[in-house]
Chain length 296, copies 4
Amino acid sequence: MVQLGLVGLGKMGFNMRERLRAAGHEVVGYDRNEAVSDSASLADMVSKLDAPRIVWVMVPAGGPTRETVAELGELLAGGDLVIDGGNSRFTDDKHNAEVLSGKGVGYLDCGVSGGVWGKENGYGLMVGGDKAHVERAMPIFDTLRPDGPREEGFAHAGSVGAGHYAKMIHNGIEYGLMQAYAEGFELLEAAKVVEDVPAVIKGWQRGTVVRSWLLDLLVRALDEDPELDDLEGYVEDSGEGRWTLEEAINHAVPAPVISAALFARFSSRQKDSSAMRAVAALRNQFGGHAVKKIGG
Amino acid sequence: MVQLGLVGLGKMGFNMRERLRAAGHEVVGYDRNEAVSDSASLADMVSKLDAPRIVWVMVPAGGPTRETVAELGELLAGGDLVIDGGNSRFTDDKHNAEVLSGKGVGYLDCGVSGGVWGKENGYGLMVGGDKAHVERAMPIFDTLRPDGPREEGFAHAGSVGAGHYAKMIHNGIEYGLMQAYAEGFELLEAAKVVEDVPAVIKGWQRGTVVRSWLLDLLVRALDEDPELDDLEGYVEDSGEGRWTLEEAINHAVPAPVISAALFARFSSRQKDSSAMRAVAALRNQFGGHAVKKIGG
Amino acid sequence: MVQLGLVGLGKMGFNMRERLRAAGHEVVGYDRNEAVSDSASLADMVSKLDAPRIVWVMVPAGGPTRETVAELGELLAGGDLVIDGGNSRFTDDKHNAEVLSGKGVGYLDCGVSGGVWGKENGYGLMVGGDKAHVERAMPIFDTLRPDGPREEGFAHAGSVGAGHYAKMIHNGIEYGLMQAYAEGFELLEAAKVVEDVPAVIKGWQRGTVVRSWLLDLLVRALDEDPELDDLEGYVEDSGEGRWTLEEAINHAVPAPVISAALFARFSSRQKDSSAMRAVAALRNQFGGHAVKKIGG
Amino acid sequence: MVQLGLVGLGKMGFNMRERLRAAGHEVVGYDRNEAVSDSASLADMVSKLDAPRIVWVMVPAGGPTRETVAELGELLAGGDLVIDGGNSRFTDDKHNAEVLSGKGVGYLDCGVSGGVWGKENGYGLMVGGDKAHVERAMPIFDTLRPDGPREEGFAHAGSVGAGHYAKMIHNGIEYGLMQAYAEGFELLEAAKVVEDVPAVIKGWQRGTVVRSWLLDLLVRALDEDPELDDLEGYVEDSGEGRWTLEEAINHAVPAPVISAALFARFSSRQKDSSAMRAVAALRNQFGGHAVKKIGG
């Protein structure tokens, strides 16, 4: 059993603390929200840990993570280890590692997948950084990851940045998988050849080629709302899909499915499309085709 | 100068009659709308023509065209010639030609492009059928097509069906071209780096690689409505785009741009997307991500 | 336990006979390949069954299935039941059902998923047809489907055709899922940020959002050939992806992911692309851009 | 008539010098290639110009342009003006302008379209920067742009960077347009319904909706090589398409056509696709589908 600091006790961090404590680890959490925090400040948290310390950072990617790492650089000492478990862009990791290495503090980046189910099922983990650091943190990884063979729920992906890179690609794939199911669902709904769409999708859970955890979740959603009509078809994107597409551009890799899935989300958030107004205007110009006028 | 019957005096047929008469041809038009018709019935129209007759059919594709051809098969006689200038699917042409050939009546299919501007500029023509029939109708084609070398505004594409096939592909390309301009327009609008978007697009009309007639029409639309905000981004599709994609499927030809343009139109007509409701539901299931609830 | 005839003892049918016999059913198989057949002819097979008979057809979709059904129509009698378990297009089912109903023979269409693994794991089944027929064949379905709750590996999708419709959409989704994993794999390979790509993909099998049976199979393939370089990137398509896209066109449903997956397969089979030759020619024309000449 | 320095006398710069001189401007060119250069060095070129000077930079985007601008910053003096006419990314312009503004040297960015045809037809120009600078350089722009109304071949797009931004979007659109024609061409070739494909495409030049300069170039290419079979379907991309897609990502604008056109180029350069090897491997795993083995 190990002792660790855990910064960020939101939806993910809070659950991870539960899972770690249930396994007997000592977790000193810090969050700006006093109601969930175990310590009054980041400094207070650090002071409650015995050196050499391990601090897991689980705060929003970008500015918040970079700032937390910088602050920890001030508070920690040689031999300590920071693990960024957030959804940081892999390009942030090198910078974060350098900030800390100047103080002799080690750094690992860890992509974490599994959402709110991870508390119970364990989280899929993809880690980047030095082998020695990975080994040191292994008791934590072994608790957070799912039961079963370690290599099926955990990977040491490479050096610093490789963990978040693997997570980014994981999420790019996830966009494509979700969109594939979604297009199939819409077709079943539109064609009305299949009479009981939720029953068919439920029947895909065992034996078929398309069985997956996402399919199980779709079944769960349809159990709650068989036509999904309590929801709007409005979908945010959180960064990894965009970064994956940027990587596809950088490496000249065709990514038609991942880009289509990302664009479908962009479209879902548009009330009206400038592009399609331009197409409507063109058709009107050459063909005298009827167009919908605003308020018309 | 020739004499011809012209069935269908809608937006296209009406203008074509004007252009043909202006060139000195004798046109006997028929339309169910008495206000524009030159004859009381199809039979009346036929009776006013001297054998061997030429009849140009310019009615909606599908049922109306097939029915008109069938009726003409009853009314016409050996040596007569029917030209289908509508937007028929190329697969209809073989059937139409057979219906008529039993009576010794010839058949040409003619794809016609140019929209409401054709009356003044002339129409691009793509013709399928026997060479002898094409030659016989050439005075009509030469009047309808634009000024300039015949081969730049007219093509004898092949045997029966080839004219409409060429027109179908033309329209598939047109979908892609329009969507390309539209995406560029939306990007310029969204990024706000370019201060005067209509001025930039107007400035593309000469010298650039993207200059085209569609670009000229976009400039015209932006002159009338600089942000195109009198319009809704709602775009119909009239068949040829779908048929083009079906042909891509049949011949295992990748058509990512034409399909993307078609799907953008489908999306433009959806108030809410079942597919994106499914994606929203999935994100909600695994991540506890906020979703927009109807009325929420 | 029931008795049934089974026509077609290829990869799928052969395995299904094994699974059915292992459960105690009496299977009389027929295949043109004498080495695997239990009977000398279709007629011989029918003669070995007690009325009312059940015959499962597991032959290639299209002509072979339609011909087998027609022959069975001659051989069977009122009260018998035919189940088409092949990958027929849903539009064939109505015809097949009508052929048989004239003789008082019932018809079910059954989409079967699971590939070569079905023998051991069971097959996901999607059935179309009358409830009474479904109930009569349920002992067979219950043996073929995977263990676990019936509704998770079996669905009565609707009336005749609905089973194959569900299977078609299932396969369309499958195309999209496979392409999503494939794009992620190519990106990981191309970027070389992740040092051990197979280890990362193996590590996605538990806990992650992208875990699935297809992912397990990808892990299996990478275990055998870590860079998949014994294979060519040449991928056939077997019909269902095309039909799914045609349905998307028919119902005006955007299907960017499924179409992208299908087009990627088309492209994979092209040695050289006419389209890209046209793009190269255009760039050469306007920019004097270097182009690759054949043999140059 | 004005005097100007012109750095970079490659395919584009060389032609522009011709066009400028033909109109009576005094051009002092500099290129590392002595055979075409009018001056021995950048410093020599500057020394031959009377203050206040105008220097047009026409060198490859990225490093070469940034270095040329930095050197010019050393050589030029307050009141001088630099115009970057290359294909720089719009994000470079702000930096370049700042480098020069410290010395009191003005900066304009000018997107130039028209390729090798610009010498004769004039170039489409999109300019970013201060109005006063634009007016000062107008005699140059008026010579370089095509004949006809200024606003149809020239646009002052906005402040520094807006010219290259407009050019970037122009090129993104260009990718989409070319791919649309290319898909149509491939379909015509594959289907063989149209007997004379080049004749049909030539016949689209007048009157049709798809008429454009690119179409004229395609006709020209087909005149030289009717099946384009002297070329390989291998297509480079030069940056602007990638940047356009990155902008689409940044602004959450769906760009399915432009991305499809870019990915088609990426694919055209792949001998074999890792992604499609993964799909082949998956099909082999679940279905025992035949796969092509290397050397098999």
